[in-house]
Amino acid sequence: MIRLASAAAAFLAACLAQPWVAGDPVVHVLVQFPLLAAAGYLLAIGQRVPPSLTGPLLVVALTTAAIWMLPRSVDAALADTGWHLAKFVTLPLGFGAPLALCWPTIGPILRGFLKAQSVSMLLFLGFLYTHAPVRICNSYLVDDQVRLGLGFVWAALALTAIWMIPVLFGRMPEIAKEERYEFSRHG
């Protein structure tokens, strides 16, 4: 019940952010996108799926994430009604929810890889947005583009801290779980 309520709250917050997304890419990409993903994640967390779906669900989540990483998708979500609606459907149901469904059955190595990859991609986006000599999004100003780039870097640093501190002190849920889930994609 609390889960569904928080999912709805996240989705509502994402909708409330809509008036600001056209003017500020940071609100669009680093506030609204994560809220939509969180809505889907909360919606699906705790639900069980057959293990054979783990792989496909992860691929769906990664593909959705990759498509929304493209600057042209961010532009299209502002310029095109179809893309605008797709944003509110695919980020929760194509990214957040599949991720929540497959995450419990993913082995620790693959998890670590995905975390490292997300930090790496955030840094890459930061690199691109802060230093591109061209405007990446038609809908946003160059200054905002740089702010978004710095936002990506901060997000990367925050995720690194959140993920690394337990590893440094040896309090990882993965270790407890490892015995139960011997299966690991690369193992």
Binding site: A116, L128, H131, V134, G170
Partner: protein, 484 residues
Amino acid sequence: MTTASIGNETAIASTQAPVVKLTMLLSGVVFLLMMVFGLIMRAAQGGLIELDPEFFYLLLTAHGAGMVGSAALSGAAILWYFSARYLDLRGGIYLGFLGLFLLGVVLILGSIFVGGYGGAWTFLFPLPALSGGLWEAGAAVAFCLGYVAIGVGFLLYYLELGLKISARYRGLLGGLGWRYLFGGSDADLPPPTIIAASSVLVFNTIGIVFGAAVLAASIVNLLFPSFAVDPLLAKNAIYFFGHVFINATIYMAITAVYEILPTYTGRPWKTTRVFVGAWAAVVIFVQAVYFHHLLQDVNMPAWTLAVGQIVSYASGIPLIGVTVFSLAVYIKGSGLKWDLPVSLLTLGVIGWGVGVIPAIVDGMVAVNKLMHNTQWVPGHFHTYLLLGEVAMAFGFAAWLVRDAARQTMSGLDKLVFRAYVLGGAGFTLIFLWSGASSIPRRWAVHYEDWQFQSQLASVFALVVILATTVLVLRYAIGLLRRSP
């Protein structure tokens, strides 16, 4: 799943041995092939053979990427082998790492010898994109993807090590020994190999994450040229990643010394506060030292150059000091029998220590302005790789196939070892001499005035190659003899 019981120092991780042995054979063969490439380049610079300059740069690229790659591969094999004495490492992860590594090698070799990519192993922006028609963007993309595959492989490798260390030694701080360093008790203190493994995995994972980011940016730039990358930022990221990665090779290989030497001296290599502190210095400083690659970039803020110079001293010296000193103490009076493995390992430590001296000299801003683009720099890294990491790798390989019944060096062993030392020292000294006489590096064609040095270097290179051939053959025969 290994059967080695966790924490039992005497248990040998036998199930990891076959694949490690195979890796060492692979590395040995690649080392040899890359040495031949090196000889061809030196001979061409010496005017001894005719070589199309375009082909020279293909060889230069392959030699750089191949040597860094096989140094990393052999280092990783050594670290895995010995870490498995303390940790329940999964062989499947290692196979995944090896598979991705080989995929990377195929992509890199294909991009060079099929695609014609000759933009050097450092893929510095914007060279991969501006080939002047020598190679297509696709070749440079394949080269970058090859690196990505190798990076992903290493990431899996380090994640497995990190997970197991974190679980066994109460977090990475335990594995690094920092809990002990900062006043904790020495209960459950990790052995030197685990300290090294934890340190390397921390800084090399950070390096790989940055490397992946800059590789992605380079690939985007190659596919979409309007996305020009900021050259200075790219250079920073590439040298951060590259410096950390090449340093990691030797920091992984050194575990062979920590593990093998005690079996000769009968004195275990102990984890002391000084030892942990020296490794802590490595973890921190190895990440800040790359600035000394950018001393010639006038746009860099002055403080970074100062950091580059100061950290050049702070990064390697404590650990090298501790390792060389400990080695001397352990060996002294132990009645050690000098056979080939232990000789090569000792050479590796000495070569590593000596090889850092020219780096520190070059790390001084004033010297760097004159020396950075001369052969002084290859002189430095050939010393600590050829006489350092590679010597350790061959020492480890020789130890894997050692004949327990023999405790001394055969006549052939002595000859091979002396030839390797003499050839390697002569070869690297000529680089240093050439650098001191301002002969530039990375030039395909040398003026006649410079050719004598290259000719002499070719002779020494030939001696090294002959010695290495025997080392590789001796190892291969040893493997055959042992496996029924």
